[in-house]
């Protein structure tokens, strides 16, 4: 045997150690089979290590569905002339951020005990209502994209996106103040 370990052995060892750390951090959350999977393929389990700040909000699934549908629409070759730019990513990020803050407020409310939480609760409801309203508008946007693809009124889509982005950022600011 060679007295010195080769780079491949060192890399392999580092991979195994990292796998062990990931499994140790996820202990209690995974069954044994999933634990073996996490040990062998730990890079795909890294998102599960996220701290509380990375917890998705209560509407994360809905946001994912709405934007997935919108992205499928935009990916259609017939919609390739519709301008959307990086606005869409920004809008999704703003909504997710606002949703995470709503989730944080939900956790605070759950732990609040007997204290008066009426102002926080009403701010939470307002933020959640506005978030769902913006999401509904995003659904409507798909129809507008269809119209833009047919009639070439692309500027209106961009304006609508900008407007929704501003509204989403406003939710983020408001819920940030209260949360």
């Amino acid at each position: 045997m060679s007295p010195e370990p080769g780079l491949l052995e060192l890399v392999g060892l580092a991979y195994v150690v990292a796998g062990g750390v990931v499994v140790w951090r996820l202990r209690g959350r995974l069954g044994w089979a999933a634990g073996v999977g996490a040990f062998a393929a730990w890079p795909v389990f890294l998102p599960l290590l996220g701290g509380p700040s990375e917890r998705p909000g209560p509407h994360a699934t809905r946001i994912g569905e709405v934007f997935a549908a919108l992205e499928r629409t935009l990916a259609d070759p017939a919609a390739e002339e519709v301008p959307w730019s990086a606005d869409l990513g920004g809008l999704r990020t703003a909504l997710s951020r606002a949703d995470e803050r709503i989730g944080l407020v939900d956790r605070l409310l759950a732990d609040a005990g007997p204290t008066d939480t009426t102002p926080l609760r009403s701010a939470r409801e307002a933020a959640a209502g506005e978030l769902l309203a913006v999401l509904d508008e995003v659904v409507q946007l798909r129809l507008q994209i269809g119209l833009a693809a047919l009639h070439g009124n692309a500027a209106s889509v961009r304006e609508r996106l900008s407007e929704l982005l501003a509204r989403a950022e406003a939710i983020d600011e408001v819920s940030g103040l209260h949360g």
Partner: protein, 238 residues
């Protein structure tokens, strides 16, 4: 078991719908081990078929190594792919990239397992060693493309120069697949050679490609002498 079969069906019919659940940690926690399991089983079936070209212990060796042939390149290429997409202004979270990679692996493995009988039929005709290797490469390319398509379609819309991110990701993945295949060889054992789990690390895939191509066309005029390179490449036992 029913849920595994329904997941297999979803992986084949609507893989993007699975990737769309990536932002939900509970879904990721539930899906990742199952997808990994599907990928491993599918690859092992395909590996067994590949090992049947020689038979015996090679059946086991090829079955054990085949999942690594898919996983190692994916694990290596995913960080690069994500960085490239981000550089092209496509904001994509790691959870989405990781789940897309897993779904792509599972899809490739299922298709590979399904394609197994075709390859077995061909190997049963006792083709030559080099042609067998080329048939394996062609089969992997054929079942790998639908998997790659999943990763491409799973990336969010938007961004600039998407083609650049796509091309860059493909180059990195292609290089990693080639080198991993070289590292984990033999999958198709030489008829007259000794069966081993792994051959020593020597040279690289590209230096051998020329030699294989020449051998495949019957040109043995140039000898290929592999050598080890690199400061820390020495491996135990060598």
């Amino acid at each position: 078991m029913t849920s595994i079969f329904s997941l297999v069906a979803r992986v084949l019919r609507d893989p993007i719908a699975i990737v769309d659940r990536s932002e939900d940690p509970d879904a990721l926690q539930e899906l990742a081990p199952r997808l990994l399991g599907i990928a491993v089983v599918g690859c092992m079936i395909f590996g067994t078929v590949v090992g049947s070209s020689r038979g015996g212990i090679q059946l086991v060796y090829a079955a054990v190594k085949m999942p690594l042939l898919l996983w190692i390149p994916v694990a290596l290429a995913l960080p690069a792919a994500r960085a490239l997409w981000m550089a092209c202004e496509v904001e994509v979270p790691w959870s989405r990239v990781a789940l897309a990679g897993l779904v792509a692996m599972a899809r490739t493995a299922i298709l590979a397992a399904a394609a197994g009988p075709v390859l077995w039929l061909y190997y049963s005709l006792s083709p030559g060693y080099h042609v067998s290797v080329l048939a394996l490469a062609a089969a992997l390319a054929a079942v790998g493309l639908p998997g790659l398509g999943v990763v491409a379609r799973a990336m969010p819309a938007g961004g600039k120069r998407r083609w650049l991110a796509m091309a860059g990701s493909l180059v990195v993945l292609g290089l990693c697949v080639a080198q991993t295949g070289w590292l984990l060889r033999p999958f198709v054992a030489r008829p007259a050679g000794e069966v081993t789990f792994l051959r020593p690390i020597e040279e690289d895939v590209f230096s051998s490609l020329g030699a294989t191509t020449r051998s495949a066309v019957g040109d043995y005029s140039q000898e290929w002498e592999p050598e080890t390179r690199g400061m820390l490449q020495q491996r135990g036992g060598r």
